[in-house]
Subunit: 330 residues, 2 copies
C-alpha cells in the first residue's frame, strides 16, 4: 500500500501549477510554472522522488515581445498520437488588459522526437489555440476518451462575472478545436468567489464508469481550493447537463498544518502502477511581502488518494511537510 | 562509512554557489544564488537529503536601485559570536563597469534572532564590507581560527591581469575588517586562465594541523575547476608565505560523465558528524543558449571526500547523477 509517508513533501520546491505524466518509456515527466515565468522546462525521472533531483532542460523560452513574451504559466506535457505536446498560457505584458484581467492566451508547442528532453531545437511552435472568443484564457489540459480528443480550459466570458469559467471542446487535432466551446462550470458558490471569482486549472481522471474533472477556485491565497465535476463515461461530454458539480470543495487549506491554498492539481499514478496520486501546489505561509505572484514559494506536493464506496475520490487533506521527520538513512 | 551512493545527486537543482552550514541546533542550513539573482533565501533540514525538499524563506531582497539592486550572488550564512550573518555580493546594474567587469561589491546582513528562518523582518543590513580598494569584489567567506575572525574573498586589482584574486584580512567584527587585505593567490597557471583569468569562491576547512583553502578558477564553463592553498594552523595566516599553492586543479570536469565546471564549493559534514562533505555546483550540458549567466541549470551536488596519507584532501571526481539509479523504495 502506498502511504503518504512514502513520499517526502514538498516534493519539488518553488514549482507552481505542477503537472506529472508517466509515459510508456517508464519515466515520470514533470513540468510546472517556473518562478520567473520566462520559460518552459521539463524534467524526468524513474520515480516520483527522483523528480525532486532530476536535472531540468529548457524546451522553450518566452519571446522578446508579442503575445508570448510574459508570464508563461501552467505548462502541461502530453503525448498524443505519437508526438509530444506542451500546452501553456502566455501574455503580451505583465499588466492587465481593458477588462482588468491578465491578458493570457493559450498556446501549444510540439516535439516529434521521441525524446522530448533533447532541448529547444526539438520543439516547434504550433501557435495559439483559438477558441472563438478573444479573452483571457489559460490552464488548458487535454484528454482522450472513446477515441475522441478533448480540450478543457479556463476562460473569461465578458457576460459572466469573474475571472474565468471552465470550458470543453472536442479537438480536430492536438492544436485545433473542432467544436464550439461549451461552459461546464462558473464561479457561483461561496468557496469559488473568495477574493476573485475563479474557476481554473482543470484536470481530468477516469475511475470505473465515470470521468472526474477537478479544478481550482477563488483567489490564489489561502482561499484557493479544489472543486469537482463528474460525468458518466457514456455521456455526451460536450453537454453541460452530463456533468454534475459538487457544491463544496473537495480539497482545501489546512490552517493547523500551515498548508495554504492547495490547488492547480494534476493526476498521476504511483510507481506500483495503480495507486492514484494527487499532484498540486500549496504555500506554507500567508505573510507574503509584495505581489504574491512573484513570491516563489508555491511548492509542488504529491499524495496518494482513494475512492469511496460511491466511487468518488477522497482526497483527504493536504499532507503535512515531512522532510524533517524522515529518518536519516545512514 | 558514508559513500557517494548515500546521497541522490544533484542534491538541489538550479542552485549555484551552494553553501551548507550545520548548526548546533541540529539543522543543516542552505543558501545559494537563486536563478533570478534577486533575493537571498535560506532553507534548513535535519538531513542533507532533507534540503532537497526543505521549504525556503526569503530573508532579504534586492533594492529597487543602487549598489544592492542587481545580480545578488553567492550568499553564505554563518553563525558568529551568537548571531547570524549572511555575506553576499550585489551590483548596481547587470552591465559592466569602466574596467569591463561586473560591478559587484560585498555586503553583510545580520539576524540577532536565534531563528534565522523568521523572515525578512528578522534581518538587518550591515552595509558594504570595505576592503580599502573600490573594485569588483565578491564571494566572501569567513572563518574563526585561534580566537581570530578572518575574512577571505575575491577582488580585482587594477594592477593585476584578470578578473579577481584571493585576499585575506582579519576582522574587527563580523562586518568590519581590522587589517589590510593581503593577496594569497592570483590566476597564473594554465587551468586558472581559461576563458577568463579568475580566482574566486574561496572556502576554508581545517584538517589536523593544517588549514586548506579551496577556490575556483577560469571561466564558469567546462573549464571552471577548483584549486587549493594550504597553511599550517600555527602559521601567520596573513602572511602569503604561510600558504602553499597547488600547481594543478584538485577538482575538475568529468567530460565522460557530463559533469561540467564543478566549483564554487563549500564544506560541511555528513549526518554521522565526522565525514567531510564537498558541496559544489556543476552543469550537465555545454550547449547553452543565450547568456550562460541566465541559464539556471547549475545544480548543487554533494559528495563525501577523504584525506590522503599526507593529510591532504582527495576530492576525487564529480560523482555522476544517480537520481535514476536509486531503486524505488516501494
Amino acid at each position: 500500500m502506498v502511504t503518504c509517508d512514502r513520499y517526502i513533501n514538498p516534493l519539488i520546491v518553488q514549482r507552481a501549477d505542477p503537472f506529472i505524466y508517466k509515459h510508456e518509456d517508464g519515466y515520470y515527466y514533470f513540468t510546472a510554472s517556473v518562478p520567473a515565468y520566462d520559460r518552459i522546462e521539463i524534467r524526468r525521472a524513474r520515480t516520483l522522488e527522483g523528480l525532486a533531483h532530476a536535472a531540468p532542460r529548457t524546451v522553450w523560452r518566452k519571446h522578446d515581445q508579442g503575445s508570448m513574451s510574459q508570464l508563461i504559466w501552467a505548462p502541461e506535457i502530453h503525448y498524443i498520437q505519437g508526438s509530444w505536446y506542451i500546452y501553456f498560457a502566455a501574455a503580451p505584458s505583465t499588466g492587465p488588459g481593458p477588462d482588468g484581467l491578465f491578458q493570457h492566451r493559450m498556446f501549444c508547442i510540439a516535439c516529434e522526437s521521441q525524446n522530448p528532453m533533447a532541448g529547444e531545437d526539438a520543439w516547434e511552435e504550433k501557435g495559439q489555440i483559438q477558441t472563438g472568443l478573444d479573452t483571457f484564457s489559460l490552464d488548458a489540459t487535454v484528454f482522450e476518451h472513446a477515441n475522441r480528443l478533448y480540450y478543457v480550459w479556463a476562460q473569461k466570458d465578458p457576460q459572466i462575472k469573474g475571472n474565468s469559467n471552465l470550458y470543453i471542446a472536442e479537438m480536430a487535432n492536438p492544436w485545433t478545436l473542432k467544436t464550439q466551446p461549451v461552459m461546464l462550470s462558473k464561479p457561483e458558490f461561496d468557496w469559488e468567489t473568495q477574493g476573485f471569482w475563479v474557476n481554473e486549472g482543470p484536470a481530468v481522471i477516469r475511475h470505473q464508469e465515470h470521468l472526474f474533472m477537478t479544478y481550482s477556485a477563488s483567489a490564489t491565497d489561502a482561499h484557493y481550493c479544489m472543486g469537482m465535476l463528474k460525468a458518466s463515461v457514456d455521456a455526451d461530454l460536450l453537454d453541460p447537463a452530463s456533468w454534475t458539480k459538487w457544491d463544496h470543495p473537495v480539497f482545501q487549506s489546512d490552517m493547523a498544518e500551515k498548508q495554504y491554498g492547495p490547488g492547480h492539481n494534476s493526476f498521476t499514478i504511483a510507481e506500483d502502477g495503480h495507486t492514484d496520486m494527487l499532484v498540486y501546489h500549496c504555500r506554507d505561509y500567508t505573510d507574503i511581502k509584495g505581489d504574491p505572484l512573484f513570491d516563489p514559494n508555491r511548492h509542488t506536493k504529491i499524495q496518494p488518494f482513494t475512492w469511496d464506496a460511491a466511487g468518488n475520490p477522497d482526497f483527504g487533506k493536504p499532507v503535512p511537510y515531512n522532510y524533517n521527520s524522515t529518518p536519516a538513512a545512514m
